[in-house]
Amino acid sequence: MILPPSTIGSPKAAPASTQEPGWVKWLLIGVAGLFAAVFLLLPLINVFVQAFSSGLGTYWQALRDKDTVSAIELTLLVAGISVPMNVVFGVAASWAIAKFEFRGKAVLLTFIDLPFSVSPVVAGLMFVLLCGVNGLMGPWLQAHHIKIIFAVPGIVLATIFVTFPFVARELIPIMEDQGREQEEAALTLGAGGWQTFWHVSLPSVKWGMLYGIILCNARAMGEFGAVAVVSGRITGLTDTLPLRVEKLFNSFDPAAPFAVATLLALLALVTLGLKTFLEWKSRGEEGPG
């Protein structure tokens, strides 16, 4: 064997060649950090700085404006209806899909994902074509004095559409991983169907479910395109917070749209915080078990 002794003997040789040289590493970190600073950190900080640029008084005034308050209320109402609806759907869909075998499951899964690949604007248009004055159900709805488009029900429907897959998508893989053994054991031991569901199935997916709920909620409160199309943007009546931001933006008051935007940015920060917490939590529980 004729090998240069330096390469066999040196303990440094092998690890050194599975790593980049130090300057490459720090260059890569630098470029990635700069990109993240420009695209992620600066936009976030800028929201708050601009919001307070005209002073704290102007900030509070912008938030206490009655149309802004009604936008906050509407946003909470819409999320308060659409998120629970999608949670119930997510639980039902994941139970059927993860615990049972049936024909057409793949098609069902594709349909559940569909709202993610439809442009929100197109989603809004669909509801206008269905429930609007000239829509398919328009004449019937008008005859019964039901207003959906340019009213709260339309905003709720559009929001449910765009946030449709969030909870189901989180729950299906987790429930599939859990299998059926625990539920079967509970049933054999005499537990009823609901009992088994509440005490066995639900606790084991709770973190995943919460994860889906916060993502669903963030999107529900922040949706713009779909809601813009169906809401009619009636100030004080059908403006959600994101629509309110746009209206203030067009009014050329420099600080007001940012003041309202801080509420949505805070929502994003809380969402990120909870998300990180849940990821840490579910990782911790997986570890020893």
Binding site: A14, L28, V47, S119, P120, V121, V245, L264, L272
Partner: protein
């Protein structure tokens, strides 16, 4: 068809009929019937009419910008997103956890706020615009602004598709390549990069699809100008003018784009799963 009876023989769990029934009903009301409404409304139009509306010069310009901007943004994300994923997985440095947490920020931030703050940052009086605009980099109220906004909203897709794959990458393969005499650059190009390629392509596709449908952030950064009009903006503009048929034409084209992408992505994910260890 009775679903509830069939599987029950081998499966003692209750509630199949109820949950599947509810799932199908809810899916139909929220998703399928609205899609059918769009399809039915489109069927009322003649093919020539639909074709004319979907392909008039204004619509063509909007598709061009939509596709072009989404493509450039997805390419930027494929590059910088892969770099971010690599840096986050392979290196330890101060602020790494913060950076990792920030990656999902575009998912969590309402797009209206993203558009608002990006338009301000890149405008002539903004923190980035005051020196970029004199250099000729007009990031607000231009086509470039559209690209910037789409880059922002698509960023998490690239990073988050690649990250788990990088974490599970078998370091033994790299060590073997190094032992066999490959330099670090060669190991990266011929051993690591080919394994990552399918995930990078998937992330690219997801970011591209997201970009094609995006509307909220564009409203703010495009400045509502004719030359910055993208397809979703055109749908809204036509709707606001009461031009329902015109909106339907563009919407159908957008749907075709997204379905083609959806199928390509499904195929890509099937392909990339072959490269992942169980």
């Amino acid at each position: 068809m009775n679903y509830s009876r069939g599987p029950a023989k081998s499966n003692p769990l209750p509630g199949f009929g109820l949950t599947l029934g509810f799932t199908v009903l809810y899916l139909s009301v929220i998703v399928l019937i609205p899609i059918a409404a769009l399809a039915l409304k489109a069927l009322h139009l003649s093919w020539q009419e639909l074709w004319r509306l979907a392909t008039n010069p204004r619509a063509l310009a909007a598709y061009e910008l939509s596709l072009g901007a989404a493509l450039v943004a997805a390419l930027l994300n494929a590059g910088f997103g892969s770099l971010l994923a690599w840096v986050l997985v392979r290196y330890r440095f101060p602020g790494r956890r913060l950076l990792d947490g920030l990656i999902d920020f575009p998912f969590a931030l309402p797009t209206a706020v993203a558009g608002l703050t990006l338009a301000d940052l890149f405008s002539a009086h903004g923190w980035l615009g005051w020196f970029l605009v004199p250099m000729g980099f007009q990031g607000a109220y231009t086509r470039l602004g559209v690209v910037l906004a789409l880059t922002f909203v698509g960023l998490p897709f690239s990073v988050r598709t690649l990250q788990p794959l990088l974490e599970n990458l078998d370091k033994g393969v790299e060590e073997a390549a190094a032992m066999l005499g490959a330099g670090r650059r060669r190991t990266f190009v011929s051993v690591i990069a080919p394994t990552l390629l399918p995930a990078v392509l998937t992330g690219f596709g997801l970011a591209f699809a997201r970009g094609l449908g995006e509307y909220g952030s564009i409203v703010f950064i495009s400045g509502n100008l004719p030359r910055t009009e993208i397809a979703p903006t055109l749908v809204v503009a036509r709707l606001e003018n009461g031009d329902y048929t015109g909106a339907i034409g563009v919407a159908l084209v957008l749907m075709v784009f997204s379905f083609v992408l959806l199928f390509t992505l499904n195929w890509l994910q099937g392909w990339s799963s072959k490269f992942q260890r169980p």
